[in-house]
Structure formats: structure tokens, C-alpha cells
Amino acid sequence: MAEFFQQIWDSFFQTSSESPGAIAYLVAAVIHCVLIIHVVAVGALIFIWMERKISGRIQDRLGPTRVGGAFGWLQTLADGIKLIAKEDITPKDADAMLFKAAPYVGFAASYCAYIALPFSDGWVAQHMNTAVFFILAVLGIEVFSPILAGYASGSKWSLFGAMREAAQVVSYEVPLGMCVVVPCMICGTLNLVTIGNMQAGSFTNWLAFNDPFTFIVACVYFTCATASVNRAPFDLAEAESELVAGFHTEYSGLRWSFFFMAEYGSMFLVSGLAAILFFGGWHGPIPIAEPIAGVLSLVVEPLLNFGRYVVGFVVGDLGQVTEGVVATQIANLMGCLNFLVKGTIGVTVMMWVRWTLPRLRIDQVMTTCLKYCVPIAAFGFLGALVWQVNDLPTSNDMPVIGKNRFEVRESWVYQAEKELRTTSGDQKSSPDDQQPPFDPHQATGSTELVPQGAFVMKGGAR
Amino acid sequence: MIGISPVSVSHYLVVGAVLFVTGAVCMATKRNALGVLMGVELVINGANLNFIAFGSKYLRVESLGLDGQLIALFVIVLAAAEAAVALAIALNFYNNHATIDVDQASELKG
């Protein structure tokens, strides 16, 4: 029993230097699961309520006002209960197995993508080196849900919705991928935690403001993201004025709500991805989180140590809280809030757009993608590339509070230069070129293969 | 786990072999051109699994290294190209003959 508490304690405050035990991992896993489930499921509840309130305000009405007090904040819950109670209908012409499986495919994909989405520095379910790529890939899988639903429903309107969805999502993956590549290129990694951390400091360090091209790319990213999660004005797959309800025409009750949870889940996902890739991730516009956390930890740390002392009478001594861990965790918590706020802002913008604009036609959606988004994204990509290679000044060079993002310079462009110089030159075995031993605990992406000398060289150039 | 701890290359090869054989049988038995295409995908995937297994550093001390992954990537891309062409052929066949049954594609038979 004591060991159990010890490990939980360790998982948060790392009292010992050795790696945490299995139960600590289990606790961490449970926390991650709970967190992600809440972001997807409870998040959907909140976002649906938000959408109602926002659309109400946009349209000069109040939105829900009854259930759960003046703001109607329990309205979605009440609707959820209604949906659970509704009859689950499978049409006669439907392919029953696929019809029933389709909503879960979408929800699972949406949920699965959250595995790689960090909510704060290191607060991520699975710390992946290819997180960006993974999220895009899994988002791409989500398209099967409408396709299968549309096909299996046995309704022509559903089939239309499915075809549209397939064509649209597959097309929009192209510009979306191009846009995502730009921050990865600047940071030299696909690791979202690293990308986020590189934008520490004031908001000038955010990649969207890195150079003019990244800003363009950020805008295109958001457009394409809106399209790839099927939000208006690109919500052709469920265009109610044309296709009744598109691919979910035949669905009812809880199955139908799974589509919605998946939709809102992916909305927050792409917004969160935008926040990390372009808008500083969990870093606020002004770097005040760490000082505040430092001050707070002066209060919290003694309290924790006191608590440990009290609990220690029952379960045995748990060990001292490691110096600085509390401050880091508080900063992380604030970062997490930061991140949630940013993601929510993205979702809100999507709602705002939805309730303002008419819907595009399918050919216009394709034109927007192929004639506008792809060329602009390619232009932004090339521009950002040229900017990086020529070492043009970025907003990051401005003398502002916070860290200077020197790592940004450490992109693969330099690595390639370095390697090419090494290999084409005669002497190859200068000690700088050796790979440094990897430290498994240090999970950074950009420096993984970079010889130490590169830093020195860059530092000198500055 | 019983029997397969630690996981070795051989275990991956078994999965690869099952995929390969399933795909091959699929190609042989399916009459729908797209079913045949799916068999091809399975075969390719089985082969890919072998490359990954040989390149993995978790399964062998002396692994193939990066080449395994690089070749796997090439295979994936080529499979995509293959699927596109095969699908185009299937659609063309369907358009011209109003059927997707490969057994009826006997125009070139002597």
C-alpha cells in the first residue's frame, strides 16, 4: 500500500532520481485517458453548448436559457440524455454491421489523434517524435466514418454526402500537409512538444509571426483545417439544405451523437494543432507564467511537504518534493490553461464563420482547395524556406523578454549543410561530427542528431 | 507472454507470411477486380512488415538499420501508385464492359 502511494507521489513530484515505477505509469496513463476523454466527450458537450450560445448571440437571440440555470449550460447534457433514450433505428436497406460501426470509427480516430497532442510542456499521452505526422494521419482516417456511414445507410442522400466528404477531405489533406510542414521545417522536428517549447517567450516568438510567409501559411492552415473537419462554409457532407443531413441522415440517438463528438473533437484538435504549430502552444503572449509559478510554488511546495509529512504517518515517508518540480508543474498547469484557451478561440472562430457565411458548392470547394489553398500554401512554404535558408531576420531576433529561439536556427537545413561539408571534405572524423550519445530522458527533437559543434558555429555567427 | 517473449524477427515474419499468403489466396479467388486489388495490397503489406522487422532495432542486435524503413517507405509509395493505376484499369474495364468481374475479361483470349 505504501508503495502504491509512493509511486503516485513519485509520478508527480519525482522524489527519487531513478525512473518511476509501474503504478506511477499506470496513474499517468489513467490521468491521460481521463483528460483526453474529457476533452473529446465533455469538450463536445461544452462546445455544443457554446455553439448554441454563440449562434444565439450572433442571431440576436439568447440560445438555451432554461436547463441548469440562467445560461442553460446543462442543455447539452439534457439533450444527451434525450439522445440516449431515443430509438436506435437501422434502415432496412442498410448494411447493418457497417452502419453500426461507422460512428465509432470516426470517434475512435478523433480520440486517437489526441494521443499525440500535448496540452502543455510534456503533458502528452504519448510523447511521439512524429506527433504532427501522426495527428495528420489519424485525422485522415476519420474520413472513413462518413464514407462508411454514407454507404452503409442505403440512402442516396447519404451516399452523396459520403462521396463529397471523401473527395473533399482527401483534397484538403494536400494543402493542410503543406502548411503543417512549414513550422516543422523551421523547428526541424515533427515533435509537437519541441515545437511548442521553441516558441517560449513573448508572442513575437510565435511561429505565425516568424516571418510574413508563416503568417500566410497559418491563415491557409486554418482554412484547410476548417475544411478538413467539415465545418461551414465547407460542410458539404452534411449540407442540410441540399442533402437533408448528408451522411448521417439515417442515424438517430446515441450513434448520431458520436458523429458530433467526433466533429467537435476534431475541431478542437485542429485548433489545438494550430495553437501549437503557429501560436505559441502553451506559452502565453507575455512570458509571465514562470515567474508566477515560481512565486506560487513558494506557497505550494511547503504545503505539499507538510502534507507528505502528515500522510507519512499513515503510509510511511514518501520522500521530499524535488526542488523546482512544483514550480514546473504549476507553470505547466498554467500553460495547459493557455493552450485550452487558444484551442477554444480557434473553435470559436470556426463557429463564428459557420453562423455568418453561406455554404460553398462542391466544385467551388474543390476550386478553393486546388486553385487557391494549394498554390498559396506552396508559395508560403517556399517563402518560409527561402527565409530560413538565407537567414533573414525573424521576429524572434527582436530584443524582447524571454528566451531567444536559437534552436530555430538549428533546422535540418544546417544539418544538411554540415553533413555535406563533412562528407565532401577530406577529413571526416573531427570530434564535433560524431553523434553525441543519446539521452533517453531528454526528449527533444531538434537536437537529436545535431552535433554539438553546430550550436557553437551558430552561436558564433550570431 | 507465453512463447514469444522476447518478440523476435521471426514473429514478425510469421505475421508477414500470413498477410502474404492471405493476399495471394485473395488474388486467386476473388472475382471482383477490386477484391484482387485488395489482395495485392495485403501481399505488399506483408512484404513491408518484413522490411520493418529486419530494420527494427528492438528485434535484433544486428539490424538492417535505416534501410529497412527507407525501403518500406518506397514500397508504400509504390503501392499507392500501383493502386491508382489498378483502380483506373478496373474503372476503365467497368466503363467499357459494365462489369467488374475479372473472369469475364477475356477479350485478349486467343
Binding site: 450572433i58 440576436d60 439544405s241 441540399e242 460553398l360 | 474503372l91
Partner: protein
């Protein structure tokens, strides 16, 4: 999507798909009631549209053969239920034409106020619902917000909000209550500045223009050939409005009013300097123009109501006492059309000399306007079908009668 090839007998497709028959309606969000369109589609392209009517058919004409003209007034309300006042007006004028009843000045101005307010209310629905057809929800509520205020005014005048039965043969059921005119003016003052908001949300919105400009283009000749009337006809550039060109009995209501028929002449709309310019993509006779004509008619109606209020308050005579419920009709037959918001609403009345007509016939404007659908929709995309049908602004209650 089909591209041109040299050999005209060979059609090239992107990917061949099989033709499908799809039912749009009668339960469909964007068919304005219970219209059923049977679409024959090849992928997203619609090759044929066939409207099926009659889901709201209750044979109001047969009912009219068993009721006196005043008793039939509520049935006219329920034809175009979005512009009940204008329907009342059309039937009243028709009956008055048969019995040769002359109205006082005051009653005529009252009718102008009511009819033009009804026009505003109706066009507001047309506008909002068209936004819905194109997938934007907010303009609908903005439109209804203002329409509600008009309905409040109507309610004050006649006690009903949808089926008014207010204008009757002989005049109206009651005079306008005290203070009504001031309220009406206050509404117009408040409403007029809002119109640019609608233009910003719809008329000039880039996506809206993309969805409507150049879609469903109908030439003036075609519009006349299909008997299209009202904004649909004027949207095709035909300069024809019964308020100016109609029968004496109807146009004399508008004698002395300053208004211009809203139709594009020499590339310009009257008074269009205040309102957004026609976008470059728009072709005369497309959905955008039909919509724009409606928007301009709202402004025109505001202007007319203002003039009518001025003249009503100084006019002589009474508000027009209704004829007796069982007024004996002279033998004969009359036909009269009025310019209702959706087009020319005609009533045909045959009397054999009894109080109850021998035959009543309603010429529905939407019925003719809708008949053009299959020609306009040929070869368009599925998404264009709601755009085109919506731009015709049909009300099924009037079509099916």
C-alpha cells in the same frame, strides 16, 4: 464537367457514374414546404428535375363554389400564407370589379399601406429563407426579427398574425387603430437602416455571389413564355409591374404615387446608387438578380408606405365598409390580377347571379414560376437546385391551393 471533343457523338466523362433517381422532398429542408422534386443525377450533375405538386392540395376553388366571396376571404389567406394581405387584396378587388364597387380615397391609401407592408413582410421571408437554402442561418433570423414587428402591426390592425382576412370586398374589416401610423413610421425609420446589413450578409457576400451569380439564368423571353411574373420576371430584365401596367381598377390605387418599376435598364437598377453594385459575375436573369430585385422592392415598398401614410392621414372618405356577407352578385364573369409579392396573383370569378359564385379560380403566380424549374435546373449541380428553387421564392400553399 463534360469536356468538348471533336466528335460530337462521343461524350467524355471524368469518371463514369450511373444515373440515379433521387427524391428531393416532400420532406426536405429546402423545398419550401411540401414540394417534391425528382432529380435524375449523374454524380453531382442534375440531368433532369421534375417537380411533383399537390401535397397541399385542398381544392380551395371547389370550396369557393360553396361560399360567398366574403366567406372565401380566409381561404385566400391560406394560399400564399406569407403574404395573406396581398391575397385578400386581389380577391377583394376581383369581387369589387364584378359588383362595380368604388372605394373612397382613404380606403385606397389604407390598402396601399397594408399591401406594401405585406410585401415587405413577404420579401423578408423570401430573403431569409434563401439564405437558408444557401446554408447560412443568421440572415433568416435577422429577417424574421423585422418581420415580427410588421406582424405586430398587422396584429394590432386586424387581430391576426398570419391569416389576416383584413382586406375584404368593400374595403377592410376595420379602420387602422389610433397611433398605428406613428408606430408604422417608427418601424420604417428603424428598419430602413438595417437593409445594408442584409446586403452585407448576403447580396455582397463573396460566397453568396459565387453561389447565385450566373446560376439559373433565364432570359426575359423565357420568363414571359413560362408565365413567370413578379420579381422572377423583373429579375430577367422585363419591365413589367402590374402596379403600373395592370388594370385600371388596380393601378388607380397607386395613382399619384412616385415609384419606379424595379428592373434592370441599361445595366442599372433604379435607385441602385444607394445599394451594392451588380457584381461582375452576375448575368441578368440569374438567381442573384432575382434576389436583388426582391431586396430593392423592399426599399421601394418602404417608400410607398411612407407616401401612403402621408396621404392616408389627409384623405377624405371612410376606410371602406365591407359589403354584406351574402351580397348578391350580378351575373357575369371577371378576371383580375394584382401584383402580389411573388408575382401576378389572378382571380377569376364566374357568377350566375347568386350570392355564391358559380366558379372561382385562382391563378397562382408561384405555380407558373415553379414550372420553369425543370428547364432552369437542367445540367446544374445538386447544390444549385435549392439555389434556383429558392430564388423563385415559391409558397406551396399557393401552388397547390
Amino acid at each position: 464537367m463534360a469536356t468538348q471533343v471533336d466528335d460530337a457523338r462521343i461524350i467524355e466523362f471524368d469518371v463514369r457514374t450511373d444515373e440515379m433517381l433521387v427524391n428531393m422532398g416532400p420532406q426536405h429542408p429546402s423545398t419550401h414546404g411540401v414540394l417534391r422534386l425528382v432529380l435524375r443525377t449523374d454524380g453531382e450533375i442534375v440531368s433532369e428535375v421534375e417537380p411533383h405538386l399537390g401535397y397541399l392540395h385542398r381544392c380551395a376553388e371547389k370550396i369557393g363554389e360553396n361560399l360567398t366571396p366574403r366567406q372565401w376571404i380566409p381561404y385566400t389567406d391560406r394560399m400564399d400564407y406569407l403574404a395573406g394581405m396581398n391575397m385578400n387584396l386581389g380577391w377583394s378587388l376581383c369581387v369589387e370589379k364584378l359588383i362595380d364597387h368604388q372605394l373612397s380615397e382613404k380606403a385606397k391609401h389604407l390598402r396601399v399601406i397594408i399591401a406594401e407592408m405585406g410585401r415587405i413582410a413577404s420579401h423578408l421571408v423570401g430573403m431569409g429563407a434563401y439564405g437558408l437554402d444557401l446554408g447560412t442561418f443568421s440572415p433568416f433570423l435577422y429577417a424574421f426579427r423585422e418581420r415580427e414587428k410588421i406582424l405586430d402591426l398587422f396584429e394590432e390592425a386586424c387581430g391576426a398574425r398570419l391569416t389576416y382576412s383584413y382586406l375584404t370586398p368593400g374595403g377592410a374589416t376595420a379602420d387602422l387603430p389610433n397611433g398605428w401610423l406613428q408606430k408604422c413610421e417608427a418601424f420604417l425609420d428603424q428598419f430602413e437602416p438595417i437593409i445594408p446589413e442584409y446586403h452585407a450578409l448576403l447580396t455582397t457576400n463573396a460566397i453568396f455571389v459565387k453561389r447565385t451569380a450566373g446560376i439559373g439564368v433565364m432570359s426575359g423571353e423565357m420568363a414571359v413564355d413560362f408565365g413567370c411574373t413578379g420579381p422572377v420576371l423583373r429579375g430577367s430584365g422585363v419591365d413589367y409591374d402590374l402596379r403600373r401596367d395592370g388594370e385600371e381598377r388596380y393601378t388607380e390605387m397607386y395613382d399619384g404615387y412616385a415609384f419606379e418599376v424595379i428592373s434592370q435598364k441599361d445595366g442599372h437598377y433604379p435607385k441602385d446608387h444607394d445599394y451594392p453594385a451588380v457584381p461582375a459575375e452576375a448575368v441578368l436573369g440569374d438567381c442573384w438578380h432575382r434576389f436583388y430585385v426582391r431586396m430593392l422592392e423592399v426599399v421601394q415598398a418602404i417608400d410607398l408606405v411612407r407616401q401612403a401614410i402621408d396621404r392616408y392621414s389627409t384623405a377624405s372618405g371612410d376606410w371602406g365598409v365591407p359589403i354584406k356577407l351574402a351580397h348578391k352578385l350580378p351575373k357575369g364573369e371577371v378576371y383580375l390580377e394584382t401584383e402580389s409579392p411573388r408575382g401576378q396573383m389572378g382571380f377569376y370569378l364566374v357568377s350566375d347571379g347568386n350570392a355564391i359564385p358559380w366558379r372561382v379560380r385562382a391563378r397562382s403566380s408561384c405555380f407558373c414560376n415553379l414550372s420553369v424549374t425543370s428547364d432552369l435546373c437542367r445540367g446544374c449541380l445538386i447544390a444549385d437546385v435549392p439555389a434556383i428553387v429558392g430564388s423563385l421564392d415559391v409558397v406551396m400553399g399557393e401552388i397547390d391551393r
